[in-house]
């Protein structure tokens, strides 16, 4: 089975988020980056498990600048066989999906996996757009996937429950929590990653249709209000008028 895993880079979850002066982009000063956990813990690890069980190969792909190579090396250290970086400064989800599709269409992958979202902007868009560009079925929010022959049986997280679907390869899947368990790369894997191929491919021209205009932080949390236990009317009023919980 030939599997492509799309990996992105995201600010470390402990980053204090700030934007530039006009609010059009993230202020990247001092930001430490990690591989998007949905890509690393679930998409990549399930791909490796399928390869270990039935043979094949796992390729990881990233659309971004050279600085992303550290994140890509981590994917190789965890166990991917080879990597591709589409050399670009990134863009909208559609731009990213287009770049990946351009590479993937000539490679006949059986399964293409993305994380269900990247934890920076939580767009959950690339997988669906990629499936459209590749003319493949798309299964989102997969929490379990087994493959027998050319058919995959997949559990999807749905509101309040689980939906089980079957799909024949090739298809595009987005990975949710539960699909696999995090693997920590070991030192030997880190050293082996240096010898694995990382191919850099130039991006294709594509006019981005979506441009971010403004970012804003959520309002600061207000102070805790203490209500006298004898004054339940005031509590009800606050819950109704301020918290809008009633």
């Amino acid at each position: 089975m030939k599997i492509l895993v799309c990996v992105s880079k995201a600010p470390d979850t402990t980053t204090k988020i700030a934007f530039n002066a006009d609010g059009t982009a993230l202020n990247k000063d001092g930001v430490q980056y990690i591989m998007n956990p949905y890509d690393e813990w679930y998409a990549l690890v399930r791909a490796l498990e399928l390869k270990e069980a039935a043979g094949g190969s796992v390729t990881i792909i990233n659309v971004g600048p050279k600085e992303n190579d550290t994140v890509i090396r981590k994917g190789l250290a965890i166990g991917a066989d080879n990597a591709v970086r589409i050399n670009s400064n990134g863009g909208s989800a559609m731009y990213i999906a287009k770049q990946i599709a351009e590479y993937a269409k000539g490679e006949s992958f059986d399964v293409v996996i993305t994380g269900k979202e990247t934890i920076d902007e939580n767009r959950s868009e690339v997988g669906a757009m990629l499936a459209e560009f590749l003319d493949m079925p798309f299964i989102s929010y997969a929490s379990k996937m087994d493959v027998a022959g050319n058919t995959a049986t997949i559990d999807r997280d749905i509101e309040g429950g689980t939906e089980t679907v079957e799909v024949d390869t090739p298809f595009v899947l987005s990975a949710a929590k539960g699909l696999a368990e995090q693997r920590i790369p070991n030192m030997r894997g880190i050293m082996m990653a240096k010898r694995k191929p990382l191919n850099v491919v130039e991006a294709v021209a594509f006019d981005d249709l979506v441009v971010p205009v403004h970012y804003e932080l959520p309002p600061a949390k207000s102070a805790v209000k203490l209500v006298d236990p004898e004054n339940m009317d005031e509590l009800v009023r606050l819950l109704h008028e301020e918290a809008k919980a009633l």
Partner: protein, 406 residues
């Protein structure tokens, strides 16, 4: 903690959030390669998953989390800078350093488990062992199938190892080993011990002793208030017949054990930064969350003085370790340079632990925060692998050319 059917206390994994964040005031990460950053990230993730949730309780109960030996092996923490074909990781000395730093960020005892296995057991067998010994022991030590320990210090010979009385006598196809060793990390659980003893000519030789050899015992030392999650014992040899094939053929004299100690001290110079960073990280967070007189205590000048001095000292120690690592990668780090870094960085970490304890106020003495545990651990680290004072005399001898030991 629970009690099992035999009435023995067992420790349950306790979920406790480890909120540690790395601090890199001088952008020293820019001096590191991808391998170093990946290694550090991997070990940090492992520590958060496998060490932080359990370490306070194991430490409190003075139990060694022996299940971590296998996990340490799996992540590659045993002999990371030894060649892959002998069970190592094939990494450079800076990678070894950052791994030790992250382990000690978790606990000095966990770092000790790894530094003994890698620097004091695998390294001498690799450096001074026969090819047969390398093939026999190193892959098993690297994979955690075997646990090793290192016997140099004796009850009456600590800072003066050349006075050792443990000895070997030629007896045909074997040596007869007699004597005892003290303060030996991992000894009660070890499968093999690299033991330094004098031959009949008074020359110091290294021998590999296996746990099943008759007349060999490794009783545990109890009652430590420091490195409580690391197991420590004695080594007792009563007419132990050690096959001649088990002698390390490539070294004679004190330089054998001292070169091992240089490796381990190098790792400690990095490791201590990890303990210091954890104390600083906890103190900084606490100072911003804890309010007194209507404002965070981090707003008071005396708290800021402590925090500012901590990060200054940490930054200096990071640069010292990085430069020492660069020298070590070229094979140019001298034992005296390693002494300076071990002494400075461990003392720095202990001072920071004490200051961080004050910032935490009364909470600082509890196991809700890692600070007091680090502080107690660091009292050992200050003394083992060459005491604070002995390392000062090594620097003194190096700059004056005059020996103050005799």
């Amino acid at each position: 903690m629970q009690t099992n059917s035999n009435g023995i206390h067992t420790i349950e994994k306790k979920a406790k959030e480890d909120r540690y964040q790395h601090h890199d005031y001088y952008n020293i990460d820019e001096l590191l390669d991808d391998d170093h950053l990946l290694a550090r990230d991997a070990v940090r993730t492992w520590v958060k998953q496998s060490v932080s949730p359990i370490i306070e309780e194991y430490s409190e109960k003075a139990q060694c989390p022996t299940h971590l030996f296998k996990e340490l092996a799996e992540i590659g923490a045993f002999g990371p800078s030894l060649p892959v074909e002998y069970g190592g990781g094939g990494m450079d000395e800076i990678a070894y350093g950052v791994i030790m730093q992250e382990l000690e960020r978790g606990d000095s005892g966990i770092r000790s488990m790894a530094s003994v296995q890698g620097s004091l057991v695998m390294y001498p067998i690799f450096r001074f062992g026969s090819e047969e010994q390398r093939r026999k022991y190193l892959p098993k030590l690297g994979s955690g199938e075997f646990i090793g320990c290192f016997g140099l210090t004796e009850p009456d010979h600590g800072s003066n190892p050349s006075g050792m009385v443990t000895n070997i006598k030629d007896d045909g196809d074997a040596y007869i080993l007699n004597g005892s060793k003290m303060w030996i990390t991992n000894s009660p659980v070890a499968d093999i011990a690299v033991v330094w003893a004098k031959d009949e000519a008074g020359k110091i030789r290294g021998v590999i002793v296996e746990k099943d050899m008759k007349g060999f015992h490794a009783p545990e030392i109890h009652g430590k208030w420091s490195l409580r999650a690391s197991i420590t014992g004695e080594l007792v040899f009563e007419d132990v017949r050690v096959p001649k094939a088990n002698i390390l053929p490539e070294v004679v004299g004190l330089k054998g054990p001292l070169s091992c100690l240089s490796k381990a001290r190098y790792g400690i110079a990095w490791g201590a930064i990890g303990a210091a960073l954890d104390c600083y990280d906890s103190a900084l967070r606490y100072s911003l969350e804890r309010e007194q007189f209507g404002k965070p205590i981090g707003q008071f000048q005396l708290t800021q003085k402590k925090l500012a001095e901590m990060i200054t000292e940490i930054t200096k120690a990071q640069l010292l370790a990085w430069r020492l690592g660069s020298l070590a990668n070229k094979g140019k780090a001298t034992p005296a340079q390693i002494s300076m870094a071990k002494r400075n960085n461990v003392n720095m970490a202990l001072e920071i632990a004490r200051e961080a304890r004050q910032i935490h106020g009364g909470m600082g003495i509890t196991n809700e925060y890692p600070v007091m545990r680090h502080m107690m651990n660091l009292e050992t680290v200050l003394t083992y692998e060459g005491t604070h004072d002995i390392h000062l005399l090594i620097t003194g001898m190096d700059v004056t050319g005059l020996n103050a030991f005799k």
